[in-house]
């Protein structure tokens, strides 16, 4: 049996499936981030504001990701919490050029962290300080300070500056997330 399992793992047949939740305010670039993880032929050319949510699938290092790309519009943010229970990781996308709404980002993050389905779990949170190419974009360090990320003690988190249009910074972030989720899964089994 052990040999068979090893063989399966080696061939990559029994890939583990994980769910990640992609959240963030509207116009922060969640759909664009998810889009750049997809294979060339699946990529969308024009991206419109998401209504409700989209489910996208992509792979990274033998993990099959199911991404719940949530709408960030104010009236759909209530939907986020319904997916907290099943998710193995969270990708939080931030528009680093939108200084005005940084307080709103913090508010939404706090609501997320206080949610009973999140606060007891030690799920990894990956922050993308997106739109780093914009000229008035804040650095990822400044964003981490503004959001008070240093106060998150019980969950692994990582912030990386990104540009979802070119794909810069995304791979680094997602590799961190993959590793974290893999560690979590190994602990459980």
């Amino acid at each position: 049996m052990g040999l068979f399992q090893k063989l399966v793992n080696l061939l990559g047949v029994g890939r583990k499936e994980v769910n990640v939740l992609v959240v963030g305010l509207n116009n922060s670039g969640k759909t664009t981030v998810v889009n750049s993880f997809k294979s060339e032929e699946d990529k969308m050319t024009d991206i419109v504001p998401t209504v409700g949510f989209n489910i996208e699938k992509f792979q990274n290092q033998n993990l099959a990701f199911t991404a719940f790309d949530m709408s960030g519009h104010g009236r759909y943010r209530d939907l986020w919490e319904h997916y907290y229970k099943e998710c193995h990781g969270i990708i939080f996308v931030i528009d680093s050029s939108d200084r005005l709404r940084l307080v709103v980002v913090k508010e939404e993050l706090d609501l997320l962290l206080q949610h009973p389905n999140i606060c007891q779990k030690s799920i990894p949170i990956l922050f993308f300080a997106n739109k780093m190419d914009c000229k008035d974009a804040l650095s990822s360090v400044k964003i981490a300070a503004a959001l008070g990320l240093d106060k998150i003690m019980d969950k692994p988190w990582h912030i990386s500056a990104s540009n979802a249009l070119t794909g810069e910074g995304l791979q680094e972030g997602v590799e961190w997330l993959t590793q974290q989720i893999r560690e979590n899964l190994n602990v459980k089994h």
């Binding site: 305010l25 509207n26 116009n27 104010g74 009236r75 943010r77 528009d95 939108d98 200084r99 005005l100 709404r101 940084l102 307080v103 709103v104 508010e107 939404e108 609501l111 008035d136």
Partner: protein, 592 residues
């Protein structure tokens, strides 16, 4: 304890997020001079304000912010008084026109570039004034003194600005030079714009084409065509003298609309489609500060200088009024579409903003100093942003939390909905029989009831009379003292026995005295003041005094009026009696 702490937290947590505050922005902006508009057509809303500079060498500016960052700053030709934005066409991308009223002109900007200038038609000159100037133009000769004298005959406010300026020149040489400078043309009397608003043309959506409406100093109202800026309707504010300074509207230009104009005289005038003259709808006793129309009900909320907010229906009936604790500086409508409600934000001079939902204050914000303009709407990508510019020049951006709710706390006026049905008993046979009997003998039952009622009243009245005539039973409920008197004897010598009873079951009575008041012409008492010793609870004290009637044959008739002894029970330190009673003395039976 935990629960109290939670309550405490809940009460103090603000519904607003502090997005950004700049205390050194140094902006001087007046109400109706700040708008939120998507001026670039990208869906990223901008804040457009006018920054007033009152010094002549420093021009006022039109400033545009993207988010919290100033992106454009351009000089305005003169002092601006109001700012509007509206969609003029259906070209893609949809870019609105920004209109700034300065003096008698409106400057229209698109994409932050000026593209049209509209001038309000000038008013005709008074014949007398135009004759004076015509004469000068024709003859090229003038006498300054004579001219000034004849101009002074006309009321100052009816003159053209050129004549007004001439009258303010003191020195003769300067006045002469002034006339020489302008003696080739007839002056024009400019009409100054006082306020502006926009009115949607055919539909109510966010990007529908709207018509600008302009109100002027000489109480003219102009509705402009948004495409070619020609006047499509012109009207007078009111049939009486009225200077509009604030204008609000509801409805659609093509269907039916209502324009409400607040005037400096304290009137609110109504103008509807097709009217050539507005009608005064409401008249206020004090000056109006600001006015908003609450969508939906079309209620008019008016703030006046005497710190009062009043709400009127669209027909002008007053619904409610409320007083605030500080003078009102500005008001702003806060439309919360996601909660399908509207609040009215009221800026107070003491540096606070109160939010009213209907007549109730539902929220409160505290800011650095008195707000001079408040504007609420979409800014950037965020839909519910409150921008406050204060008199001290600071600007602050506040974002309404997504989770904020303005639930109506139960009001006294609205009765609670009866959730439980009344506990009615089952319909028994007995009940049915009874009701049949009541139906058959209704008249008799009614009569019997009425008879019994009358009897009851009679018994009550009798008991009252008896109580009044019978001297015993005078008491003071509050002090719990009861006094009764008894008169013994046939006269002319009587003995009066007074009983003072302490009804209080727990407290003793201390420090009382009884004073007798009597007409000394008729009675002589053995004692006029009696000090009462301590009366223990639920016990009584009896005292006796002797009264002697002075017998005079002649005074018998008068005596009947004053054959009374008045008794006062009082505490020793106080002059107000605890209890007062009158003892009617019986007449002396003269034995022949």
């Amino acid at each position: 304890m935990d629960r109290y702490f939670f309550l405490f937290l809940k009460m103090n947590v603000s519904k607003w997020l502090e997005a950004h505050t700049d205390r050194s922005a140094n902006l001087i902006t007046l109400p109706r001079n700040a708008i939120l508009a998507d001026i670039s057509g990208t869906g990223d809303y901008n804040l457009v304000i006018t920054d007033l500079k009152f010094k002549t060498d420093n021009k006022s500016r039109l400033k545009t912010f993207r988010g919290t960052i100033l992106i454009s700053d351009q000089a305005l030709p003169s002092l601006p008084n109001s700012l509007i934005s509206f969609f003029a066409d259906r070209l893609e991308p949809r870019i609105p026109v920004v209109g700034v009223a300065c003096g008698s002109e409106v400057f229209f900007y698109k994409n932050l570039k000026p593209f049209y200038q509209f001038r309000v038609p000038s008013c005709p000159l008074i014949d007398h004034e135009s004759n004076i100037w015509k004469e000068i133009i024709e003859t090229k000769q003038f006498d300054v003194d004579k001219m000034v004298e004849s101009l002074k005959e006309i009321p100052y406010s009816n003159l053209s600005s050129r004549s007004q300026q001439l009258l303010t020149e003191y020195s003769l040489t300067k006045a002469e030079a002034f006339i020489r400078k302008y003696m080739d043309s007839i002056p024009v009397k400019d009409d100054t714009i006082t306020c502006m608003i926009t009115l949607e043309r055919t539909s109510k959506d966010k990007t529908s084409i709207s018509c600008p409406i302009i109100a002027t100093e000489f109480s003219n109202i102009y509705i402009l065509d948004p495409q070619n800026f020609s006047i499509i309707q012109q009207a007078n504010t009111c049939n009486t003298a009225a200077t509009p300074f604030l204008i609000r509207c509801s409805g659609l230009y093509d269907v039916e609309f209502r324009i409400l104009i607040a005037t400096r005289e304290g009137h609110i005038c109504l103008l509807r489609k097709g009217w050539l003259e507005g009608k005064s709808l409401i008249q206020l006793k004090s000056d109006i500060v600001d006015m908003v129309l609450v969508p939906g009900d079309n209620f008019i909320v008016v703030a006046s200088v005497d710190k009062i907010i009043q709400c009127f229906t669209k027909r002008g009936q007053r619904l409610w009024s409320s007083e605030v604790n500080s003078p009102i500086t500005t008001m702003c409508l806060v439309r919360l579409e996601h909660l399908s409600t509207s609040l009215v934000a009221i800026g107070l001079k003491n540096g606070s903003i109160q939010f009213y939902q209907g007549r109730q204050a539902v929220d409160y914000l505290s800011i650095a100093d008195s707000p001079s303009v408040i504007v609420f709407g979409q800014l950037g990508q965020e839909e519910n942003v409150l921008v406050v510019i204060t008199a001290g020049g600071s600007i602050s951006f506040k974002i309404l939390k997504r989770t904020a709710e303005f639930s109506n706390v139960p009001q006294e006026s609205t009765p609670l909905i009866q959730s439980k049905p009344l506990p009615l008993p089952k319909r028994s046979k007995l009940f049915l029989e009874q009701s049949i009997r009541e139906r058959q003998h209704a008249l008799e039952i009614h009569q019997t009831f009425q008879q019994d009622l009358i009897r009851l009243r009679l018994t009550a009245a009798r008991a009252l009379i008896q109580n009044l005539t019978d001297q015993s039973g005078i008491g003071n409920e509050k002090e719990q003292i009861k006094l009764s008197a008894q008169v013994l004897g046939l006269g002319p010598k009587f003995t009066i026995v007074l009983t003072l009873e302490n009804i209080n079951p727990t407290k003793p009575l201390v420090g009382l005295k009884v004073t007798f008041h009597v007409n000394p012409l008729y009675y002589i008492l053995s004692n006029y003041v009696i000090k009462i010793p301590l009366i223990p609870p639920s016990l009584s004290f009896k005292m006796q005094i002797k009264a002697k009637e002075i017998m005079e044959e002649s005074g018998n008739e008068e005596q009947s009026n004053s054959n009374a002894i008045r008794v006062f029970v009082s505490r020793q330190e106080f002059s107000i009696p605890v209890l007062a009673a009158t003892i009617n003395m019986p007449p002396t039976e003269l034995i022949a």
